[in-house]
């Protein structure tokens, strides 16, 4: 029943909060190598689905399969180690670390330089070259030694993407990467996501249908916790239920 090239699958995913059904029987299949968007109006359950997929929430019912492995019962850090890495709606950086250190933290675990409390942190210098490349890729090189807290909002997001890419994830989950951004910044982030998607799968949650139109291969529309439409942008935007869900909101 599931397509053989699906990298992430949700089957009958349901989440209830004290009787309130936030997510109802969602089936989602993300094709390997695609950019997939999950869109929907406010309160549709996008972020809940997102948190379920990354294990920050435990589903009431249903299963999540990543790369052929059932990860429904796994801890969030464990699925991250499998290569399913998420971003956050509010830009997630380590504010009191520098840009370089932020990216390096992501590199430390795989390099086996995370639990050594008896060694000097100078040894982390061996990760600097790789960290620099990643920082340069998102055009943050002039801010290499600035603290993340001092960066502009758009640059924090860029740093977050560099940090995420440092893990060389199999799949990226981006939670509203364009939220709160101006037009030029959106264009920059779209380019970043496109570059990051090379050789990877991306699932992004987005509020705004128009920004994902040129970026995503597949779009799933969520409404009141249920998937009401799925397909290409042309297919989805022509769906009467989608138009209804978005009525009074920005039209594509």
């Amino acid at each position: 029943m599931s397509p053989p090239d699906a990298i992430l699958e949700a089957r009958g995913l349901t989440k209830e909060f004290l009787g309130f059904v936030a997510v109802n029987n969602v089936n989602l299949s993300v094709r390997r190598g695609s950019i997939h968007a999950l869109i929907g109006p406010n309160g549709a359950g996008k972020t809940t689905v997102f948190n379920l997929l990354t294990k920050f929430l435990t589903p009431t019912r249903g299963a999540i399969v990543f790369d052929g492995v059932d990860v429904t019962a796994e801890q969030p850090a464990a699925v991250a180690r499998r290569g399913l890495v998420r971003s956050f709606q509010i830009s997630a950086t380590f504010p009191h670390l520098t840009v370089l250190e932020n990216v390096r933290v992501a590199l430390q675990r795989k390099a086996g330089l995370a639990t050594q409390f008896w060694r000097s942190d100078r040894i982390l210098g061996q990760l600097d070259d790789r960290a620099r490349e990643l920082v340069a890729a998102v055009n943050l090189e002039p801010y290499l030694h600035a603290h993340a807290v001092d960066l502009s909002y758009g640059r924090k997001r860029a740093l977050e993407i560099a940090t995420t890419l440092a893990l060389d994830p199999v799949m990226l989950l981006l939670d509203e990467p364009m939220a709160g951004m101006g037009h030029e910044e959106i264009d920059r982030v779209v380019d970043l996501i496109r570059a990051a998607a090379q050789g990877r799968t991306v699932l992004m949650v987005e509020h705004n249908l128009s920004v994902v139109s040129h970026l995503c291969d597949t779009i799933s529309v969520l409404q009141r916790g249920e998937v009401i439409a799925e397909g290409s942008y042309e297919h989805v935007s022509a769906d009467p239920r989608v138009r209804e869900a978005y009525m009074g909101m920005e039209e594509a």
């Binding site: 504010p95 675990r109 639990t115 940090t163």
Partner: protein, 322 residues
């Protein structure tokens, strides 16, 4: 090797920050070497023990963001174990202190295991509750001597031939423990592990999403903090030749919070400065009619209202702004 030498501008800045730290450390060490000739050695040794205790506590609050309200349990446990080892088992004083530290570490593993999954005030409350349990064990258990505590602990002979009943050798012994403990804490803060701790403190959810089992990192830090606090307690019990319930009460947990807050949370030197001030006040004002607790309470309020970063924290902030 090559990466450090080829790295330009900013790592050099970090290095200069480090040489600044080294200079400060040498200055403090020089002061401490002169101190027993200027002040009453037992008083300086008390300051050193409390400074190390506070520095261990500071590892958690300053670099992991965990407020333990039960650190006296470790300090007191270390004091009792070292006292017992020296008095009943007649062990070498250094072995006694090390045993105290290990005992504190084991207790820290148990307490940390139960507390570490909780956050914020719940973490503080669990550590307080568990430390109260340890307190009641100390009251009831026969080997702690209950209300009397363990008295007349022999300081013994270090390595069998250095007589610690003499003030200066004893001072050197405590200073060595202090320097070693401070160096260990400094090393941890500036280690690959310390970098992950700071990341967890800054943004725990993000650290999880990068694949870190944050509970494990917090637990390691908690155990180290407990062990160093216990070693400080062990040293204290040899200095005063006494381990008593005072070492293990919740007021002692409060005192270490005060010392750290006053000196500067998240600074290496803050706990030392805080300990100097609080212990000096307690010792020299004890003879006055002013109740010391009222005065210290007033300083605490002033600290929270006027200089939240603590003394060392404010100075560092001021230096960084210039």
């Amino acid at each position: 090797m090559t990466t450090t030498t080829s790295a330009p501008a900013a790592p050099a800045k970090i290095a200069s920050g480090r040489s600044g730290e080294l200079l400060t450390a040498l200055g403090v060490l020089a002061l401490l070497l002169a101190a027993p000739f200027l002040f009453y050695p037992v008083f300086v040794m008390k300051v050193l023990c409390f400074a190390l205790f506070a520095a261990a506590f500071n590892l958690l609050i300053g670099f992991v963001g965990l407020l333990s309200f039960g650190h006296a349990a470790f300090f007191g446990t270390g004091a009792y174990i070292a006292a017992h080892a020296a008095k009943v088992w007649h062990l070498d004083p250094l072995v006694a202190v090390v045993l105290g530290g290990l005992g504190g570490g084991v207790l820290g593993l148990a307490v940390g295991f139960l507390a570490i999954k909780r956050k914020g005030i719940y973490f503080s409350m669990i550590t307080l509750a568990l430390s109260q349990m340890v307190f009641f064990i100390a009251v009831q258990a026969p080997f702690t001597g209950g209300e009397d505590g363990i008295q007349g602990i022999p300081r013994g002979h270090l390595f069998g031939f250095i007589d610690l009943n003499e003030p200066l050798p004893m001072y050197g012994f405590v200073l060595a423990i202090f320097v070693f403990g401070m160096f260990a804490l400094w090393r941890i803060v500036h280690s690959p592990f310390g970098q992950i701790l700071k990341a967890i403190r800054d943004n725990e959810a993000r650290a999880i999403s990068l694949g870190y089992d944050v509970a494990r990192y917090k637990l390691i830090a908690f155990v180290i903090s407990a062990a160093v606090a216990a070693a400080a307690g062990g040293a204290k019990s040899l200095v005063f030749q006494l381990a008593s319930l005072t070492d293990i009460t919740w007021q002692m947990s409060g005192e270490v919070i005060l010392i750290t807050l006053l000196g500067g949370i998240g600074t290496i030197l803050g706990p030392v400065v805080g300990a100097v001030i609080v212990i000096t006040l307690e010792n020299y004002l004890a003879t006055l009619d002013v109740p010391v607790t009222v005065l210290i309470g007033g300083i605490f309020v002033a600290c929270v209202l006027l200089f939240r970063r603590g003394i060392v924290g404010e100075i560092e902030h001021w230096l960084a702004r210039r």
